[in-house]
Amino acid sequence: MVILNRVCWMAGGPQGGGVNVSADLFAKACVAGGLNVFGNIEYNSNIKGEHSFYRVRAWDSNIRSHVNLVNLLVALDSETIHTHAYEMAPGGGIIYDGEEINLDMSDKGVAGVTQRTDIRLFPLPLTTIVKSLYGPNEKPNMIMKNTVMVGASFGFLEYDFSLVERTIRQMFKNKKPTVADFNVKAARAGYDHAKENYEGIFECKLQSDHYYDRKSPDERHMLIRGNEALAMGAVKAGLKYYAYYPITPATPIAHYLEEHSSECNVHVEQTEDEIASVCSVIGAAHTGVRAMTSTSGPGFCLMLEGLGFSSLTETPIVIGLIQRPGPSTGMPTRQDQSDIRFALHAGHGESPRVIMIPGDVDECFQIGFESFNIAEKFQMPVIILSDKHLGESYITSKWFSEENMAVDRGLIATEEYIKKKGSYNRYEITESGISPRAIPGTPLGMFRTTGDEHTEYGSISEDAMERIKMMDKRFRKMHEVEKYYPEEKRIKVYGDLRADVSIIGWGSTKGAILDAMEMLKNDGVHANYLQILSASPFPSRSVKKFLDSAKKRIIIENNYSALMSGIIREMTGVLIEHKIVKYDGRPFSCDSIVNGIKKVIKDSPREVILGEQGYERAL
């Protein structure tokens, strides 16, 4: 039996050993052939040596998540084999260095691959192959083994080698041409070795140009990560100032913008800490440019005074909060979704804010753009809540549409405006709560802002009545946000209205949930799914409506206490009966969600806790 265009490939090995480059090549070559790709990386908070791996799922239809089974494993070391043998699909194959790794390890008591009789081993003579690439006086570079193994992967999969070659050349186009040449040669050697020695033995095959036509202008696809999409949205919105302090998994946004700083005229400032990041963003935003910072939990902890100042002084800033597991340093390079309540209530006092939650790369781009319009129109901070899985996983996506994206800077008090009015009060009480803001540099607009409670003029006031007026004014703006950004935009519903089970989720679980729904449908289970895209303002009515018409309600969250279910109960009164959670620092795979939902259907547990390696606990 041939499995066509449905392969889960994985590369594993020590960090710094070339896993990422190998997998990038594999993924990009698949994209070059018009396949859908989803790639995600698991790595340690370590620079060199710890085990890391990179999954690439290449598929004929539109997939948005990983599955736990691996068809083809490229093992850069023996640890990879022993760590991942259990997740090999029956009939799957493992590519490794047959001259270095001896798999008869039963005497060493290592469980794993040696006990699997249903998979195939492909021990390639890598040292020999690499040596053969070099002339007699050249010192062979053994890092080429990785390229050989990627090449071999495509050999097993009988993929069109020209796509591999083209991808290599594109990847190395900024290096000396010989680098690309040599990599092509190495890949070819692996490719040929696999074809020659294992022809027809491996059941998965990849064909190019199956799903979409990369040549048609409307069908152009990218291989993109959430962090990049977010940055692109911000650039599109006219971002001028981006400040950051390095932190996983938010740093890639900064690095992406830094690389494009000159061409996009965006200044990227690496500050001395996250306090300085958010504060300098406030300074820049106050002075009239679109400004943003991103961070993860530990850094966000340091931004709260800035956040409150921004809300009180009505300064429009955007903060990307890319979640990872806490508390404290936690698991810096892993996945979690547990900062939503924190984002909602962060900072002392009551301060209006908008919290937007993308669930896929397209929403990252949209929200990356729209967040600035909202921040400036309503003069308040916008938090974009993303996470490691969404931020760092690769996915194929159609080119973003740039249609209907208009920059809206909100009410600005220009010199003319002030002249006409005759006077200027920065915090003028208006019906909408919004007061035109003057940008420093504007004649006649001079005002003083303050983090103290203040008068319309902007001077400190401790008067009880002024306080009430100002609190009311600031909160009135939230009603305006609700109009501009109505509930229809703050939720999305997928699937049939009449379904057996109704799933509620938010953020990066979206991909796995959608994929799981398709899998469930094949098994006769009809599910629908409500995606929540905003924590503030919260789409209470829509959520309640959806929940009220649901048969069996399941909330799915990548955290310990199903935080969103608490928010939903607070905002709608509805108690969701079933929870599926995962708090082991890893994202959901679509198959784990399928299992969790089946468990709920079968036993109706209050809670299903999922983990890696098929871990499942029901309460």
């Binding site: 692109m232 006219g238 100032y241 200044h267 500050t271 300098s280 963003v281 002075t287």
Partner: protein, 306 residues
């Protein structure tokens, strides 16, 4: 805008001032106003940033743009503002608690950038607004009437610290000497790069040790005594080093003679100069004046297409 010459009234506000009678802060406000007037900096082209403390209220009393921000964070806020519009005159004022306790990390790291901002610390030795606790500049062994016990920590010397941290214009002033202070402010604003002025600020309410009576007999003006603070050849590393050491030495003087005036001035490329080199459009005009409608990202998508 009419371009008739600016008058003192242009730098005032109608905001009720609630500093204590005799507070040195009044002199500082007067000096800032005087220097801006003398330089004819238009009020709309100046931004005054402050932190929290008695000192933090300064911007409310000056008719330019102003931001009265959060405790210890005025410098990073000023930094962002300056990059957004490098044509603005940006002046940052902090208390000594503000700038050297909670804000010390920003003080140190701002010095590394030579960004074209004037930063001033009001050195009154106390956390005045929270009622007189010792600030990091309070002398060891000193006790004001509001303290239970004398301070047991070494003080920070702000001017010396600024020299150490890379500020390229460093001076010290006295809050009751408005003419001298305003002349330093002018120099600081005109200096291209990061300027720092430590202002010995009298707080008659809480600091009953470092009073007018304390300062008057010991202050002397460095420049009047012929001290030469200016690095002639900024690319001569030796001269820079020598001048910095001399400046540090001077800044450490205590006892019967206490120096005010300029300790150091050296002209290096500013941070903004570097950024203009990097971003072509910033060379043309400040970031805030860039047109951001209709930006296209086709080239970014192209890069990710295989």
């Amino acid at each position: 805008m009419s371009e008739k010459p600016l008058t003192p009234a242009d730098y005032r506000t109608n905001v009720h001032n609630n500093w204590c009678p005799g507070c040195g802060d009044f002199g500082i406000v007067a000096a800032i106003q005087k220097s801006l007037l003398e330089m004819q900096v238009r009020p709309e082209n100046a931004l005054l940033v402050s932190g929290i403390g008695c000192s933090g209220k300064t911007p409310h009393y000056i008719g330019t743009y102003g931001m009265h921000t959060i405790h210890g964070r005025s410098l990073p806020i000023a930094t962002g503002a300056k990059i957004a519009n490098h044509e603005l005159t940006v002046i940052d004022v902090s208390g000594d608690g503000d700038g050297l306790a909670i804000g010390a990390g920003h003080f140190v790291n701002f010095g590394r950038k030579n960004s074209d901002i004037l930063y001033m610390i009001y050195n009154n030795g106390v956390y005045a607004l929270t009622k007189g606790q010792a600030s990091p500049t309070m002398d060891k062994g000193m006790k004001t009437k509001s303290m239970e016990e004398p301070s047991i920590k070494e003080p920070i010397n702000p001017a010396s610290m600024a020299i150490q941290c890379g500020y390229t214009f460093v001076a010290r002033a006295y809050s009751y000497d408005i003419n001298h202070l305003s002349s330093l402010i002018k120099q600081g604003v005109q200096h291209r790069g990061s300027a720092f002025i430590e202002i010995m600020q009298a707080c008659p309410t809480y600091n009953d040790v470092k009073t007018k009576e304390y300062f008057t007999p010991i202050l002397y003006d460095l420049q009047k005594e012929g001290y030469d603070a200016v690095v002639k050849n900024p690319s001569d590393a030796n001269e820079v080093r020598e001048k910095k050491l001399a400046a540090i030495t001077k800044s450490w003087e205590t006892g019967a003679k206490y120096p005010i005036g300029v300790f150091l001035k050296v002209d290096f490329q500013t941070y903004e100069d570097y950024l203009k080199e990097k971003m072509p459009m910033m060379k043309e005009k400040p970031l805030v004046k860039h047109d951001i409608s209709g930006i296209k990202i086709t080239h970014l998508m192209e890069e990710l297409t295989f």
